[in-house]
Symmetry: C2
Subunit: 251 residues, 2 copies
């Protein structure tokens, strides 16, 4: 980690900085998990108070990203790390940007609770339940990818990367389901749109978990995971209620 001619003092400072970096990363990932959990519970219970708490707490994630950025730039400038250390530090920069985005999506999910609470759609509606299932899948991805980072577990990173396909498939089926409901009952359109964006936000959180898995893999193994799998869902080409589907409501 350091050359023999550097003083113990510098080695110690360098080690301390690495510890701080690891600690901030683990705080940030823990916050992202609890924010997503809070947002999903707020949606399920139409709990506006919990939603407001999630919205307010997002700033803490943003602040941690700013702190990590500042520390990384400081370490690059003062310690001029190379090889493994450099890769680790650059990976932290990248991963913390992914976690910050996850936080934004969790906040955006929480924001939609207010609209949903006023609308005629119960949380026992089947499509709301599908959205909850999607939420649980994405929560599991988050837990696994952060565990993979802590343990440098590449097998787990690959599993997260593969799980993202399951998330995309479920998101695609929810998209179809929601459009069909909206066609059958126009009173459901506003709620359906908010649920669509909630599902899309969850799908995007899954993408960022996949990014983190890729960054970890590249850092530890030097090989890229990402090139073979397109990171987009199938809903952008979907026509529901068009000529392929027959009349609205028939699907």
């Amino acid at each position: 980690m350091t050359s023999a001619d550097q003083s113990d003092h510098i080695v110690k400072a360098y080690d301390d900085e690495f510890s701080r970096l690891r600690k901030m990363f683990s705080q940030m990932s823990g916050l992202a998990e609890s924010q997503l959990d809070g947002a999903l519970r707020a949606v399920a219970r139409r709990d506006e108070e919990l939603a407001a708490a999630v919205r307010n707490k997002d700033q803490e994630i943003d602040d941690l990203e700013t702190e990590i950025d500042a520390l990384v730039v400081r370490m690059l400038a003062l310690r001029q790390p190379v090889a493994n250390d450099l890769r680790f530090i650059v990976a932290m920069l990248r991963m913390s940007a992914d976690i910050e985005r996850m936080g934004d999506y969790a906040k955006n999910i929480a924001k939609r609770v207010h609209a949903l609470a006023q609308l005629p759609v119960s949380s026992s509606n089947p499509v709301t339940r599908s959205v909850s299932t999607l939420g649980r899948l994405v929560q599991a991805m988050l837990k696994d990818v952060f565990d993979a980072c802590t343990d440098e577990d590449l097998k787990k990173a690959v599993a997260v990367w593969e799980a993202d396909q399951e998330v995309d498939a479920l998101y695609t089926s929810i998209f179809r389901e929601l459009l069909t409901y909206m066609m059958e009952d126009p009173r459901f359109i506003t709620a359906g749109t908010h649920l669509l964006f909630i599902a899309k936000n969850l799908e995007r959180i899954g993408d960022h978990a996949t990014n983190i898995a890729e960054t970890l893999h590249y850092r530890v193994d030097g090989k890229r995971l990402g090139d073979s799998r397109p990171k987009d869902d199938d809903t952008s080409v979907m026509v529901v209620g068009g000529p392929e589907d027959g009349p609205p409501g028939a699907a």
Copy 2:
């Protein structure tokens, strides 16, 4: 840029790397502009061939990001830059990630052309025209923010950062307009949903332009632009056709 005891050879190599970095960044930003332009023209004309070309070309942006990343890590490891150079290099890393995301959103817009082409909504529909207006606003932001980067023009960067509020306001009005149309005519729901996501993608591209303006400002001036303005739109709390709005279709 380098200490006096380094050989001319190293200075030259270092300068060359900076030139390459600038060149790749300008290629990448040029591509992002032309990809957005192509996607918007494909939507306006329901041109599936142009849309396919945009989808295929996105890989070039992704490849440039990978190349910039690799060069940055190489420069950090071999040149151990400090001060201005270090800030410039780290800013490149951050900005190229923003441009890569812009490319993804342009691709996603292009993907939706196929679905729109099959659906009963003409491009002269007022809401389609509002989406085009939003597209032109975001295109202007892109042009301005990349000009600001080239000229290190902080006044222009601040103007981009302020223009984002206009984009958010227009996006919010489009959201309301689209939901109202969907309620009035359920045959419009699928097309309306794709237009909603197109508008959302445009709004996100505007956010990334804002990020770049913030990164530029921080790099040149050392002060953060970003903390005072929340980077989210108002649609996440919007209820259309709910109690506030009267019955569906009345808005």
